[in-house]
Symmetry: C2
Subunit: 411 residues, 2 copies
Amino acid sequence: MLIEFGEQSTKKHAVVIGAGFGGLACAKKLRKSDVYSVTLIDRNPYQLFSPLLYQVATASLPEDDIAFPVRTAYREVQFVRGDVKSVDVNTKEITLSTGKTISYDDLILAVGSEGTTFGIPGVAEHCFQMKSVNDAREIRRSLLSTYESVEDGLLPLESLNVVIVGGGPTGVELAGAVSELQREIKREFEHIAPKATVTLVEAGPRLLPSFHPYSSKYTLKTLTKMGVQVKVGAAVVEATSSSLRFKDGAEIVAGTRIWAAGVVAPTHWKFLGETDRGNRIKVNSNLQLSDSIWVVGDAASFPDATGRPLPMVAPVAIQQGKHVARQIRRRESGKTLEAFKYRDKGQMATIGRRKAVVEMNSRLRFQGSLAWLTWLALHLAYLSGGRNRTSIFADWIWNYIVWTPRRTITE
Amino acid sequence: MLIEFGEQSTKKHAVVIGAGFGGLACAKKLRKSDVYSVTLIDRNPYQLFSPLLYQVATASLPEDDIAFPVRTAYREVQFVRGDVKSVDVNTKEITLSTGKTISYDDLILAVGSEGTTFGIPGVAEHCFQMKSVNDAREIRRSLLSTYESVEDGLLPLESLNVVIVGGGPTGVELAGAVSELQREIKREFEHIAPKATVTLVEAGPRLLPSFHPYSSKYTLKTLTKMGVQVKVGAAVVEATSSSLRFKDGAEIVAGTRIWAAGVVAPTHWKFLGETDRGNRIKVNSNLQLSDSIWVVGDAASFPDATGRPLPMVAPVAIQQGKHVARQIRRRESGKTLEAFKYRDKGQMATIGRRKAVVEMNSRLRFQGSLAWLTWLALHLAYLSGGRNRTSIFADWIWNYIVWTPRRTITE
């Protein structure tokens, strides 16, 4: 049963599917409307701060820190936990997998994206993805427990090796963090740990393909200096239970294999309209599919000035979420809709302790300590809850100043 | 394979089983010995700070905060993760369940205790225990996810009820914390949450039986005022999948049933010597079973002045662990062994926000805010790692001052 609330009879109803960056930004901006009541649906009762997922996977942060409880966040937003099974655009009704139905006047699709294996054999079975808290938890368990298994003679030494596929920001950040974790663990498993390796694999010609070549070069040099083996132009053709195989016949044996090489929108929503190669729904200049359906974030295919769809990153989702809320309110006041314009504030990736790359625009780029501090500050600023912000800040003080990584395995 | 370390040929070898309060205190004090090398064995690579387990169970603290990684703690102590299968006291050899064997010159048993159901039907199947991180995680999941299931109509309203069996400090602390969690959740599930109840059940005539009757009375009054239903003199005869049944025919229907009513030492070690009713091994005045085997903490049955075994609490374990380390070092310097004497520094239990009872000795007792601050300060002081201490301190500031409980369900 959906909790009925008094206003529903008089107010219009906006339903947001997905409590990620885009969905929350939209719900937050719409919640004080006198005309609309807002319902937010997600299968999890928290917003996952996925840019820091790699720190949970490498045991730097506890998982609670990057999961922001949405129920408590905005009192005016009705939260419903559930999976959406179908949408009837004629009756304007959503059906959840539990059978519960919810009517909407406006529907905002903010359903995000998921990892894709590109159909490469063995990847789904033998590689970790890194999209959810559960994924990060499994990676962390694999990274840490392998040392004990090897020490006990239950696994061969090569199991300590880690291979990460995908040279985008996620792969780069993960490779740097794994390398730092491996270095720290040397003190605890003195006899076996020095043998552990980490390899970062990219199919294209350079790391961070969406960045300026100079940033790619700096990243390659920095990772290499940290001991990460970087393999570019290397296409994976198969994953097995103990290795990755490449097109050129090479093979990397590794106990922990992480797939961070590609993200697509969920196919589930294709029935709503035309989609691009990444399953992203093509929207008009107002981010609309129809008068009453809006799409924001990773799930929306919206072209930039050159005609390529905008990247699947948090700033795009947040700006789009806010834009849709603004348009819904404009329409109610009888104003015309405005086209969405993305203000590109640049991009950044952290490589390791005191090392990052930042690109503010085509001219302003910087690397190293200053870039890393910028990265820290911006990530803290983007975190939703004061509590999570404090907690992560305290953890980072320990990680980066006191230098005691949190490294408990509690399962 | 056990990692060999150079000193082993020349040094004697002390093996500590169990990384709880007693085992760690002993290992820590013995680790700088020139005569002994120290190995610590535990099935988990962390010390569990069990006095705060109830805060993990009620979503106030993340589980990482109360799990202190032992590998990194003391460099001189060799840590082995494993389950001890058997001990051969003649050859002085321990066998782990993996088959690995470890020889010792001195063995320190610090194996702690576990929950007991007293053989009451249904308790093992239908009640949560609260001894491990996993137990706390399951309680948290049950407490939080029940609200969603009830809202979705998948569970009846009575599922929101919580019943806790055991009126000792654990039961009292848990009941208070559950009551505060239920009050906080009212804001999120306005229509169903006000129906939730929490009942604390004690078989004896009063709560906190080991405390002064005045403290029991204060605790009963305070819990009642907080909305906890307290049932004393109530013997559980059966647990079902939805309720607890009592000797007088009464029944309490509750979705979350927690058993905090009794703790015994593991039966696994009974083969070593004479045990008391709680499976605790009877030791001599030096805490010895034999020249080379020592027992500390919950696993040891050591009489107080009145002949009753000392309580199973952290201060006893810590003092005994240190005592054994001291005796081993005395013996090496040719000194005679000293009998163990427990210095009772009192006991305390927290009831809720700004409410606790503290008994320093038979004369000095206090309650309320001052007692609560004493409780906070002492628990922070007893935490092993600076990192955990900082992290819990930050969380408590949020919980008690900013009043935003951490309440993420990430699974």
